[in-house]
């Protein structure tokens, strides 16, 4: 257990230093390239979603306007048959890929999560079908400044 922990810590240290080193095999996968991408096109490319087809089967429920960017609730449902994964990309965030969910046998392609948004942005969701095809939808969410600023 201690060894695992130490290896993971080293992995995190390397990650923080910005070097490319594979995280120990014992750790769960975390797509460093995709999560490290600094633009939406790069992030989409690294998850193979550059040519994702717009689809009404990818349903995003989120507020049009958020009172605070620190917590923006987003609910995603994929009606794409055989959805294997759902990725959520906040296009204007410094690191646009926010999360990726892989659904194994037994889970429905649905997730609800709170995200941080640095500014008003399109939020893009990419669903991956069983055959590897990608489908996408996006929604613009406005982030506002409130309060006295004290």
């Amino acid at each position: 257990m201690n060894t695992v922990r130490r290896v993971l810590l080293q992995g995190a240290g390397v990650l923080a230093a910005g070097l490319l080193a594979p995280i120990a095999a014992l750790a769960a996968t975390w797509n460093k390239e995709a999560f490290g991408a600094k633009s939406a096109p790069d992030a989409l490319k690294s998850i193979g979603a550059t040519h994702a087809a717009p689809s009404g089967d990818v349903v995003i429920e989120a507020p049009e306007i958020a009172e605070n960017g620190a917590v923006v609730p987003i609910e995603v449902t994929s009606n794409v048959p055989g959805t294997r994964s759902i990725a959520v990309v906040v296009e204007k965030n410094p690191f646009p890929l926010a999360a990726k969910f892989d659904f194994l046998e037994g889970a429905l392609p649905y997730v609800k999560v709170n995200l941080k948004m640095g500014e008003t942005s399109d939020v893009r969701v990419v669903a991956e079908a069983a055959d590897g095809k990608r489908y996408t939808a996006s929604k613009n969410i406005k982030v506002t400044i409130g309060g006295c600023g004290g």
Partner: protein, 103 residues
């Protein structure tokens, strides 16, 4: 030591709804503390959901997930008493998990 987690799993129409709360700072690495020093990045990277010991959902997450993450998932079918386990792993190698039975 990681802060507490809280989970609820309840039967819906043909699915099981799982809602899980995690105590975690989810630091982006871009925030400054009151002294003006950058707070290093520290966030959950992996979340795994298991039903009766079998993984059904694996999530990779970034610093864009809000502090004290709240996730809702839906599992196919399900029955009262099914054992749901959710665990996480963060950038510092810290982990935590919680278990509940479907109610």
């Amino acid at each position: 030591m990681p802060g507490p987690m809280k989970m609820r799993a309840s039967l819906g129409q043909g699915f099981t709804e799982v809602r899980v709360l995690m105590t975690h700072p989810m630091e982006t690495g871009q925030r400054k503390d009151p002294q003006g020093k950058l707070v290093p990045a520290h966030f959950i990277q992996n979340v795994t959901v298991k039903v009766n010991g079998r993984p059904v959902l694996e999530a990779q997450t970034s610093q864009a997930v809000s502090r004290n993450p709240v996730f809702s998932f839906r599992l196919k079918g399900g029955a009262k008493g099914d054992k749901i386990e959710v665990s996480w792993l963060d950038t510092q190698g810290e982990t935590n998990k919680t278990e509940t039975a479907v109610a």
